[in-house]
């Protein structure tokens, strides 16, 4: 029983220049405890897909279930089962770490005393204990990301969605974040669904990759299977594999041009 399954998931935005199909049709399944790397060029529909799977955006077509809850008929069930960290995070820079964590617990309907307790647990787990009384705006990039993730873990979700979690982080903070994601999966069995533009990150972290382009899934598999199938050899870089799949960038050297 997959923890996420989507079939024909689609979203069209009406604009002044006619409808734009941000996501045409996404089919995917994610197994429990999997770390899934969701890749694609800018504008491929990654964030829109994530926003649909987390109930932020209603699909205009298709269906999906998250942790057994149907997106269309049981959005409240989906919200209880998943945590989400947007690219921009989601904390007010003027508010202290402690207040944000406690408020988040209350938003997930924990009683007050329990929310305070949970804030301390989360701060401890994510190395924020020393920073509890600091304003969110005064944290470093890596600390901010850990706070964003702590907020998303408040209710111990089965599925954690991370939208470009390491964009803008220094190498040390990125490595810390990778460890954190692995630990979450290993210790809690959390399924992690993450988007990234860093292919080394996808290679190192993800059990399986799903590559989207122009609003639809164009390839999926383990990093090595994709390299073998699309990059020509198991030793191909994921960068070349990615470019071969999405058809962007220079053509491979040995490929004869079909038309000029």
């Amino acid at each position: 029983m997959p923890v996420i399954s989507a079939a024909g998931l689609a979203r069209t935005f009406p604009t002044k220049r006619g409808p734009v199909e941000a996501v045409r049709s996404v089919d995917l399944t994610v197994q429990e405890g999997e770390i899934l790397g969701f890749l694609g060029p800018n504008g491929a529909g990654k964030t829109t897909t994530l926003r649909m799977l987390t109930t932020l955006l209603a699909p205009t077509g298709g269906a999906a279930t998250v942790a057994g809850h149907d997106l269309a008929t049981d959005p409240a069930g989906v919200r209880r089962a998943c945590g989400y960290v947007a690219q921009s995070g989601g904390v007010d820079p003027q508010i202290t770490v402690r207040e944000e964590l406690v408020t988040q617990g209350r938003l997930y309907r924990l009683p007050k005393a329990r929310a305070v307790e949970r804030a301390l647990e989360l701060a401890h787990d994510l190395g924020l204990t020393q920073l509890l009384d600091r304003k969110a705006g005064a944290l470093s990039g890596g600390q901010r990301r850990r706070l964003d993730i702590a907020m998303a873990l408040t209710h111990r979700p089965k599925v954690l969605f991370l939208d470009e979690p390491t964009t803008g982080l220094d190498p040390g903070s990125r490595a810390d974040l990778w460890d954190l994601v692995r630990r979450l999966r290993d210790e809690q069995g959390t399924t992690v669904f993450l988007t990234t533009h860093y292919l080394d990150e996808a290679d190192a972290l993800a059990d399986r990759l799903v590559i989207v382009d122009r609003g639809t899934v164009v390839a999926e598999g383990t990093p090595s299977a994709l390299k073998l199938r699309h990059g020509g050899s198991i030793d191909a870089t994921l960068q070349d594999t990615f470019l071969a799949i999405t058809g962007r960038g220079p053509a491979p050297a040995d490929a004869a041009p079909v038309a000029v």
Binding site: L56, G89, G90, V91, Q104, L107, Y108, M151
Partner: protein, 249 residues
Amino acid sequence: MLIQDTALIYGRYLRQSLRSRFALLFGVLMPLLYLLFFGPLLTDLPLGGKGSSWQVLVPGLLLQLGLFGASFAGFAVIIEQSQGVVDRMRVTPVSRLALLLGRVLREATVFVFQAVLLVLAALAMGLRAPLPGVLIGFAFVGLLTVSLASLSYALALKVRTPQEFGPAVNAMTMPMMLLSGLMLPMTLGPRWLDVLSHFVPFRYLVDAVRDAYVGAYATEHMLYGTVVAVLFAALAVTVGTRVFRGAGA
């Protein structure tokens, strides 16, 4: 659930307001300037109503405070949207109505507080009005700010950029102010202007508060004012909640 959620959101934003005490006082500046520099011009003019010119002007200034203040409330949510705070709250099970109500009740609290300051200043300038009437005036300010702040949030989540939001709100509030008789009673003007102003909902609120300030509580103005204010609030909160449910997209 709804009450707890609303209290939680309300508390968060009220603390935010208390952190910026300067902004809290600054909002009352514009109506205060009208009171100081425009009010004295009216004292000897025949305004057609019962009571003194202050009993005509102060109700208008109270609603002007609500009209201009609450209409721009949406700026805050544009900032929150870009910080990701709106989405972060929307992925939790929290009630969508509470996400709106908690925020607009904060606005109502801030503007009623400013209204109290304004009335205190007006008392010093020479206003004399019955206490129940003054309290009724605050209730109208509260209802009006709930309505306008709801619509303002809805608009802000739809347009998404301050560059679009500011001019759009200005374009709506200026004619509203001029046509509702906030400054001077519309009955002073030509017939066509008086008729036109009846299509602006605030006209009914202003008339009701002016009646309250002269101690006339069981009047036709009061009835219409109450009905319009309550219907407008119900409509605005419904629209606002719908937009929070879909967050504009």
